[in-house]
Symmetry: D2
Subunit: 402 residues, 4 copies
C-alpha cells in the first residue's frame, strides 16, 4: 500500500464537472460585474447560482451527505475547491464560501442534534447564510484571540452577551451568528471562551456598517457587529461552556486550508490569463513568452502553484487522519497566502499596462488575494506559532539532555 | 570642494513650506474622498488647490522662472516633490503631476519661442493641462517604443496624423496633446518618429473611454485617443522631424525620476501610518512595534526609503550635469518602483485587518503605487536596458583584447 | 482508495534504522574530518562504511534486489535518502552517492544482461565506483547538452572515442565510465548521441586534475577526463546508438530527485543545529529563539523543508507511475536547490560568528549545498524548460482557437 | 552651493593610482595563492606590499598626514577603499585592512599624545599590526555588547584585566591590543566599560588558536585571546574610564562603512568576472549575456552596486559632518552586506560550474563576503536598532499628542 496521490474516479469526475460549471456558468457573471458580488446581485445571485450548481450536481461538496452535501473529506476537497475558486463567485455558487463553509464543518463536528436541525441543515442547503463573530476592535481579540473582551454573563435560563465585533464576514444578510464570548477569565488568558448560536433577528444583535476592504467578492461584506444585552438560551451554547478556543481550532485548521484551495484557483486563473497573453503578444522581436525574464515569471508561478498544492495535500491528509495539531496547516497557509499573492502580482507584471487595467481581471484578483496574507492569521502570527513549537521542542530536548 | 549633500537654505525653506501646505491643505481633501480625484472634483478641485499653492508660494517649483515657476533643477526637485507626493493630490496642487510636469520640462528644452508662448506658458501657469500621446495598443508602441504605428504623412503646409493611442494619462480635459507619430521608417525601426503639438479641440482628435486602472489619483484618467486625419501645420512640429525618439529621451529620464520622487512621498506616508500604528497598538504582551517581525518590516522600510532617495540623488545629479545617458535613471526607477511597492505592502501587513480596509489610506496607496512597476517602462525593460549596456561594453572590451 | 501519504512499515523501519546508523556511525567521522572525504580516507573509508551499512541492513536501498539492494521505488527512497544525507558521508556509506546511485538506476533500466553482470553487479555491491562522462568544457556540452562535441567514430568491431570532459564527478578512482559521445549530427543538434561503457583502465582514457570546487564531500572529486582514440567494442554501447539523449533523461529525472533527497538531509542537519543553538543561547534579555527575527528564520526554514519534501513526494510519485515527462522534477529540483541553500544560509545567520566558523559544521554545509543550484541543471535552465512547456502549450491552444 | 557628488581632482587621481596599483601589483599575488593570505606569506607579504604601496603613493589614505597618511575624510575614502578592495589583499597593501584601519581612526580621535606616539605612529606607518579585543564567547559580549564580562580591577598604579575573548581579528602577530573590559557595573548593564592599550608581549596576554572561518584573507586570523591577571598601567587607559561603549561608537560607525567600501570592491570584481564570462560564452543559440535570465542577474548586480554606493555616500557625508548618531550607517551596512553577498552569489550562478570551482575566484569571494552579514553587527541587530529608533520616536510623538 504505497504512497498514492490518485483521486478516485468519483472525485476526478466531480473536479471535471466543477471546472465546466464554473467556467461556463459562473465566470461570465463575475466578469460582467467586475467581481463585485453586491453589484452582481448579492443574495439573489447566490440563490440562482446555487440552484444551477444543484442542477449540475456540484453543490455543497463539503457538507455531510445527510444534509444534501457530497461528503468529501479534506483531501478530496482540495482539487474541487480549487476549481470552484477559479471564479471569485464559484465558492458562493457551490455554497463553499467563507464563512459558511467553515461553519458547516464546525457544526457538523460539534453541534447537538437539535442545533444541527435548526442551523446546520438550512445552512448546508443554502437556505441561509451565517457569520462567525470572533474578531474584535482593539484592544480585543484579533491576531491574538486570547484578548477576547466580549462577555457572556449567566442569566436565568441562558446568557446575556455584550460586546463589539468587527470584520465579521457575511454578517449583513446572515441568518444566524456563531458568537465567541468570554464566560470566564480575563482578556489575555487562554481559556474561558464559549461559542453561542443566535438567529440574526435576535433582539440586541446589531449589524453595523460594512468596512470597505480591498476585496469585494465576499457576500454580506465585512461588518461591524454589536451585542447589546443579547439573550441566548442555554440550548444556544455550542458544545460546552469555556471550550470555545478549543472548538475554534476545529474550525480554523480546515478553514485555513479551504481558503488556500479557493484562492489558489483564483491565482491559477490569473496565471492562465498571463500565460495566454505572453504566448500571443509580440515584443522585442519575439513572443513575450519567449523572453527570458518573462519565462522566469512563468516558471516561478508554476513553482508557486505546485508547492502550494503539494503543501495542501500534506496538510489535508493530516487533517483527515485526525493528526494531533502539527505545523502543517500553518505552513501551508503561510506559504500559499504569500505564493498566491506573488502569482497574481507576476501575472499583472507579465501583462504590463493591461495588467493594471480593468480590461483584464488581474487587477481585481490582486485586490482580492492581498488580504489573505492577513485574514485567517497574518503570516507573522503563523510564523511565530511555527517557530514556537519548534524552538519549544528544542528547549525541552536541551533540558532533558542536561 | 568636497562632496556635499546639503540643500541651500532656499530649498530647505521650500521643502518645509511644501510639507506644511500639503499636510494642512491637501491631505484632508484626499482623505475625505478616498483618493479618487474625479470624485473629489477633478479640474475644479485642481484650480482651487493650485490657487492655494500659489498663495503658499509652492506652485510650479520645476517650471522656468520666466513662466512663473521656481526654476528648481532636478536635484532640488527631489525633496520638494517627495513632500508634495505625501498626498496623492499634492502633485496636482503644485502643478507637478504627470504628464504635465514632464511636458513642461520637455517644452522648456525643445519648443520654439512661439510654441513656448502658445503651449508652455499656460501649462506652467496651470491654465491648462496636457497629454503625451505615445503608447499604442498592440502591436504598436508600448514597452518597445520602436513599434510605433501612428503615422503622420506630409500634406500641404502641414501633416495628417492617423492612429490609435491608449493609456494616455490626463487626456480627458487636456488643453493640448504632444503626439508621437511615425514620419518615416516602419514599425520596429529605431528612427523616424516626430513629435507634434495639437490643441485638444482640433478636428480629428478624439478622446475615447477612460481605461479603468488600479490607480485613481491621475486627473483626466488614462484614456484611449484616436487621430483621424488630424491636420497639424508645419509649425506644430516639436523640434525637428524624425528626431522624436531622441526628444523622448529628454523627457523620459527626468520624468522617471519625478515619478519616483512623488511616489516615494506616498510610500513614506504609508510607512508613517504603519509606524504610528505599531507604536500604539498592543498585542502578544507588548507594543506591536517591539516585536521582532514587526521591527524587521519597519527597518526594511527605512532601508528601502533611504536607498530610493540615495539613488535618486545620484541620478538627479547626473541629469543636472547633463551626463551622457548612463544607467542611473533606469537603476533608480527600477529599484524605487519595487521598493515603493514593498514599503506600502509591508505597511499594510503591519496594520493587519485595518491595513486592507478603507479605514486607513494604505489599501488605496497600494493600488496607486502598483502600476509604477509598469508605467514609465516596466522593471523588465529597464533591467534589459541596464544589462544590455553593461554586457555590450564587455563584448567590446573582449573584442579589443583579442 | 483515497490519497495516502503513509509509508509501509518496512520503509518506516528502514528510515529509522538509517537514521540511527547515520547519526551513530557516520556523522562522527564526517565531523572529525571537517567533511573532507579525501582527508577522511577516501575509498578506504568508503569500504569500511559500506561494510558497516551492510551489517546494519541499510546498504543500497535503491539497487535491485537481485543485485543485493533493497529495491525501493522513488517514493520510498525519499525519506531514506534524506536520512542518509543528514551526514555528508551518509550517501557514500549506503552506496547511494552521486553519480553511482544514478548510474545503478540507469543501468538497471537500459543495460543488457551481460553489461549488468559486468558493470551493474559490482557497482551495486560497492565493489567499484563509476563515473558519468557527459559535461564538456566550453563550447561543448554543459547546461545545453546538445552542444556535445566528443565524437565516437565507427571502427572495426567497435568505436573510437575522442574528446574532452570536465567536472566528471568521482572520476578519480572510478572502476568504469559511462561516456556520452556524438555518433551522428553536429554540435547544436538535438539527436546523435550514444552512451558507451568503458573500464577505467582502458587505453586512451585519461583522468586529469581534480577541479577544486566549493564542495569537498564527493569521493573521487570533479575531474577533467580526456579520451584519446579510446577504443570500445560494439558490446560497449549502452542501449542503442543515437539514443543517448533519450537515455540521459531516464537518468536525469530520478538523479535530480535523489540529489534533492540527500541535500535536504544535509539542510535539515543545519537547521537542527541552528534551532538547538537559539534554544539555548541568551541575548537581548531572552533566549535568541524567542526573538521575532530569529523566529522568522526558524519558521522560514520549516516552510522550506516542508515544501521541498512535498514537491519531492509529488515528483517521485509521478516517476514511479512512469508518467510521461512533466515539469514536476524540474519544479522540485529548482525549488529545493534554492530552498536548501536558504535553509543553510539562515542557519548560519542564526548562529552568528559561530555559524561562519569551523566550530560548527554550518560553514561547510553552506559550501557543499551551493553548487546544487548549478549541478544537475542550473535553476535558470530548469526555469527555461518549465516555461517553455507551459508557454508552448498556450501557443498551441491559441493556434487551435484561431 | 548645490548638491555635489564630484570628487576633487586629487582624489580622482588617487582613485586611479589605487586602481592601477591593486590590479597590476596586488591582484596577481592574491590569485596565485587562492586568496589565502597566510599561504601567500602573511606579514612578510604585507611588508612587501606596503612598501610597494608607499612607492606608488597610495599608502595609508586614511591615516592623519602627520603620521604619514593621506588624511582622507570618510567621503573620500569610499571610492579609494573600494578600489583597494578589488583585491582581497589590497586593503593589507594600503594598510587599511580591518582592524588596523578602524584602530587608526579611533586612536586619532581619542588617544593621548603619548599614546599616539607609542601606538598610533607605528600602526599608521605599517610597522606593527593591532587587534581590537571586544567580542567574547557566550554568555559574554557579542551582538549584545552590554553582556561584557571581561573585568579590569583597580590595582596599584594601574589595572588587572581578566577575561576571555574570541574572534579577535588579527590577534596572531599583532603588536598591541585595544581591550574592552568592564570597570564597573554588571553584565547586561549599558555602562561601565573601559578601553585599555596593551603591548602584545605583556605578561598575562595569551593569544590562542585561530578559529577557522569561511574567510581566509584576514591577516593574523580570528583568534581566541585570554587575559590572565594582565597588568596595565593607568596611562594605558584610552580616553577615560567607564566611557568604553561610547568610544566604541566612534570606532564602529566608520569601521562599518570602510568594511562596506572594501567588500564592495570585492563584489565588483566578482561581477566584472561574471559579466566578462557571459559576454564571451555561447549557449542556447546566443551569447549567455543576451539571455533574459542572465540579463536580469547582471542588472540586479548593477542595482545592488549602485544602491550600496549611494547609501555609502550618504552615511559617509553624515559621519564627516559629525552628525549625531543617525540610522545611516546601520542602513548602509545592512543593505550593503546583503547586497554584496547577492552580487557574488549571482556572479557564481552566471558562471555555472566554473563559478563554483577554483578556476575562477568567485567561489572564494563568496566565502569571504558571507561573514560580513554577521561581522560588525548581524543584519538582525542593525534592523533591531533601526526599528527601535523609529518606533521609539513614534511612541514619543504619540505620548506628546495625547
Amino acid at each position: 500500500m504505497p504512497i498514492d496521490l490518485t483521486y478516485s474516479s468519483d472525485v476526478t469526475d466531480l473536479i471535471e464537472r466543477t471546472r465546466t460549471f464554473v467556467r461556463d456558468v459562473v465566470l461570465p457573471i463575475e466578469d460582467a460585474h467586475g467581481g463585485d458580488i453586491s453589484a452582481a446581485g448579492g443574495d439573489t445571485l447566490r440563490t440562482e447560482l446555487q440552484s444551477a450548481a444543484k442542477d449540475a450536481g456540484v453543490f455543497a461538496p463539503h457538507a455531510p451527505i445527510e444534509y444534501g452535501g457530497l461528503g468529501l473529506n479534506m483531501s478530496d476537497r482540495a482539487p474541487v475547491f480549487e476549481e470552484a475558486g477559479y471564479s471569485l463567485f464559484g465558492p458562493v455558487a457551490l455554497n463553499i464560501a467563507a464563512p459558511d463553509e467553515g461553519n458547516v464543518h464546525m457544526l457538523a463536528h460539534i453541534a447537538s442534534a437539535e442545533q444541527k436541525q435548526q442551523y446546520l441543515a438550512p445552512l448546508a442547503h443554502g437556505d441561509v447564510r451565517s457569520a462567525f463573530a470572533m474578531t474584535e476592535p482593539a484592544p480585543g481579540a484579533g491576531s491574538d484571540p486570547t484578548a477576547l473582551t466580549t462577555r457572556a454573563t449567566k442569566s436565568d435560563g441562558g446568557w446575556l452577551i455584550d460586546g463589539q465585533k468587527h470584520f465579521i464576514t457575511g454578517a449583513d444578510g446572515a441568518g444566524f451568528f456563531i458568537i465567541m464570548a468570554r464566560t470566564s477569565g480575563e482578556p489575555g488568558q487562554r481559556g474561558g471562551a464559549t461559542m453561542f448560536l443566535a438567529p440574526a433577528d435576535s433582539d440586541g444583535l446589531h449589524v453595523g456598517r460594512h468596512i470597505g476592504t480591498l476585496d469585494k467578492a465576499m457576500i454580506g461584506g465585512h461588518c461591524e457587529v454589536r451585542f447589546d444585552k443579547l439573550f441566548v438560551p442555554d440550548s444556544a451554547v455550542l458544545g460546552e461552556p469555556d471550550r470555545g478556543f478549543e472548538y475554534a481550532q476545529v474550525r480554523l485548521g480546515p478553514a485555513r486550508m479551504t481558503h488556500v484551495m479557493r484562492w489558489l484557483g483564483a491565482a491559477r486563473r490569473g496565471h492562465d490569463i498571463a500565460v495566454a497573453h505572453v504566448a500571443r503578444r509580440e515584443g522585442f522581436g519575439s513572443k513575450l513568452g519567449d523572453l527570458g525574464m518573462i519565462q522566469k515569471m512563468v516558471a516561478d508561478n508554476e513553482i508557486d502553484i505546485a508547492a502550494s498544492r503539494a503543501l495542501l495535500v500534506r496538510a489535508c491528509w493530516e487533517l483527515d487522519r485526525g493528526d494531533p495539531a502539527s505545523n502543517s496547516t500553518s505552513i501551508a497557509k503561510t506559504y500559499a497566502a504569500e505564493a498566491i499573492f506573488r502569482i497574481v502580482d507576476r501575472s499583472i507584471q507579465m501583462c504590463g499596462g493591461l495588467g493594471v487595467s480593468d480590461d483584464l481581471p488581474l487587477a481585481r484578483l490582486s485586490r482580492e488575494v492581498r488580504p489573505f496574507r492577513v485574514y485567517d492569521g497574518p503570516s507573522e502570527v503563523h510564523r511565530w506559532a511555527i517557530a514556537k513549537r519548534v524552538v519549544g521542542a528544542a528547549k525541552r530536548a536541551a533540558k532533558e539532555s542536561e
